[in-house]
Amino acid sequence: MKKIKLQITGMHCTACVMNIDGELEDTAGVNSASTNYAKQTSEVEFNPEDITEDKIIKIIDSLGYSASLVEGKKV
C-alpha cells in the first residue's frame, strides 16, 4: 500500500470533497480517499500494483479540479 498527499485546487464547498472521495473510492486499486476541504488536501491510500499516482491525479482532474503531489510514502 502507498499513501500520497495531494494538494487540490478548485474545491468550493464540501460537496466537492464528496465527489472526489466517492469517485476515487469507486476506482479499483484505491483503498481509501480522505479529502479535507479546509486544508484543500486529499490523502489517498492505494495499491501501486493496481493504479498509479498519475492515474489518481487524472481522475481528480477529470472531475474539474486540479491536483498535485505534496508527498508520498509506503505504508
Binding site: 468550493h12 464547498c13 464540501t14 460537496a15 464528496m18 465527489n19 480522505s34 486544508k39
Partner: protein, 331 residues
C-alpha cells in the same frame, strides 16, 4: 424574519451549492433507476417523477429539521441573552460562509463544516440504489450532508427559538433551491463555469445581507443603541397616548406592532394587552428585555401584563429576533 430573503438565498447561492453535491447524487440515482427500468422494459422517458420524489421528501425532511431546530432553540434559549447571542453567532457565521464563497481568505474555509465520512458514504451508496423509493429516500437523506449555506440557515432556525418559525425558515430556503434541480447541469453546461463563478459571487452578497440583518436584529433585541432601526419611526397612526387607566393595547401583526410608540405616566400601573392578529412572523415572540417579559403569542391569542414604571425614560420592546420593535415612553 424576512422569509423572502431566505427564499431568494435558496434560489441563488443555496441552489448552486446544494446542486453541486445533490445534483450529482440525483443524476446518479436517476440513471441507476433507468438501467433497472430498461432491463424490465418499463423505461420512462423523463426524470420528472424521481426528481419530484427527491425534492418533496427533501422539503419534508428539512421542514421537520427546521421544526426540531427551532424547538431546540426555544428549549435551550430559555434566557433571552442566550438567544440573542445565538442569533449574533448565526449572523456572523453566515457572513463567514459568504466570505468563503467570495474567496476572501483561506481561513474562512474552516467555517464550512464537513459532514463525517460515514454519512457521506451512506448517502453516496443510497444514490446507487435501484430501488423504486431510492430517489425519495435520497432526498430525505440529504439532511445529513448540508452545504455551507444550509448550515447557516440551520443556525438561523435554531436562533429563531420557535418551532414553527424554524420550520418556515428551512421550508422557504429549500423551496428556493428546488427550481435549479429541474435544470440539473443546465447552468454549468449552457452558461459555462465562468458564469457560475460570477453568479456564486453575486449570490454571496445575499448571504452577507442575511448575516448583517441577523446580527443587527440581535443588537436591536439586545437594545444596543447603535443598531439600525433601534428607534421606531413615530407615525401619526401608530402614535398612542395611554388613557388615564394606563391600559394600552398593542396589536401584534405579521409585519410588526401597532402602535409601536406608546406614552405612559410613571408611578402608575400600566396594563399592556397584546392582541395577536394572524401574526405568524417572529413578531409573535414578544420581548421586553428591561422588564424580563418574554411571551410567545399564538395566532389570535391575547395576553396581558402589568408593570409600574418607576422612572421616566424609554422602555424598548422587540420580537425575539429584533426584526420588529417599539418603545414605551415613560413621562
Amino acid at each position: 424574519m424576512n422569509l423572502w430573503v431566505i427564499f431568494l438565498t435558496g434560489l441563488t447561492v443555496g441552489g448552486l451549492t446544494c446542486l453541486a453535491v445533490q445534483g450529482g447524487l440525483l443524476a446518479s440515482v436517476i440513471s441507476a433507476r433507468k438501467d433497472e427500468e430498461v432491463e424490465k422494459g418499463t423505461g420512462r422517458k423523463n426524470a420528472v417523477f424521481p426528481t419530484l420524489a427527491f425534492l418533496i421528501t427533501k422539503l419534508i425532511a428539512y421542514t421537520l429539521l427546521g421544526f426540531i431546530l427551532g424547538a431546540f432553540g426555544g428549549v435551550i434559549g430559555i434566557s433571552q441573552t442566550t438567544q440573542i447571542i445565538m442569533q449574533l453567532v448565526a449572523g456572523l457565521y453566515m457572513i463567514a460562509i459568504a466570505l468563503n464563497l467570495l474567496n476572501v481568505h483561506p481561513i474562512f474555509r474552516y467555517a464550512v463544516i464537513q459532514p463525517p465520512k460515514f454519512l457521506t458514504r451512506r448517502v453516496r451508496n443510497q444514490s446507487k440504489s435501484k430501488d423504486l423509493f431510492a430517489p425519495a429516500l435520497l432526498g430525505a437523506m440529504t439532511v445529513f450532508i448540508p452545504c455551507g449555506t444550509t448550515l447557516a440557515m440551520e443556525a438561523l432556525a435554531i436562533s429563531s427559538a420557535n418551532a414553527f418559525l424554524g420550520a418556515a425558515i428551512m421550508a422557504a430556503f429549500i423551496l428556493g433551491t428546488t427550481p435549479l434541480f429541474f435544470g440539473v447541469g443546465w447552468i454549468t453546461s449552457v452558461l459555462g463555469d465562468n458564469f457560475r463563478q460570477r453568479f456564486l459571487k453575486t449570490a454571496a452578497f445575499a448571504v452577507i445581507f442575511l448575516g448583517i440583518t441577523s446580527v443587527n436584529g440581535a443588537l436591536v433585541a439586545w437594545g444596543f443603541p447603535l443598531a439600525f432601526n433601534s428607534q421606531p419611526k413615530t407615525n401619526e397612526k401608530l402614535y398612542s397616548e395611554a388613557p388615564s387607566s394606563q391600559t394600552v393595547v398593542i396589536n401584534v401583526l405579521s409585519n410588526g406592532y401597532s402602535p409601536n410608540y406608546i406614552k405612559v405616566k410613571k408611578d402608575l400601573p400600566v396594563t399592556v394587552k397584546l392582541v395577536g392578529k394572524d401574526a405568524y412572523s417572529c413578531a409573535s415572540a414578544f420581548r421586553v428585555p428591561s422588564l424580563g417579559i418574554s411571551k410567545n403569542l399564538l395566532p389570535n391569542e391575547t395576553y396581558a401584563f402589568v408593570f409600574t414604571p418607576k422612572q421616566a425614560g424609554k422602555i424598548g420592546f422587540t420580537c425575539s429576533m429584533g426584526m420588529y420593535s417599539g418603545v414605551i415612553d415613560v413621562i
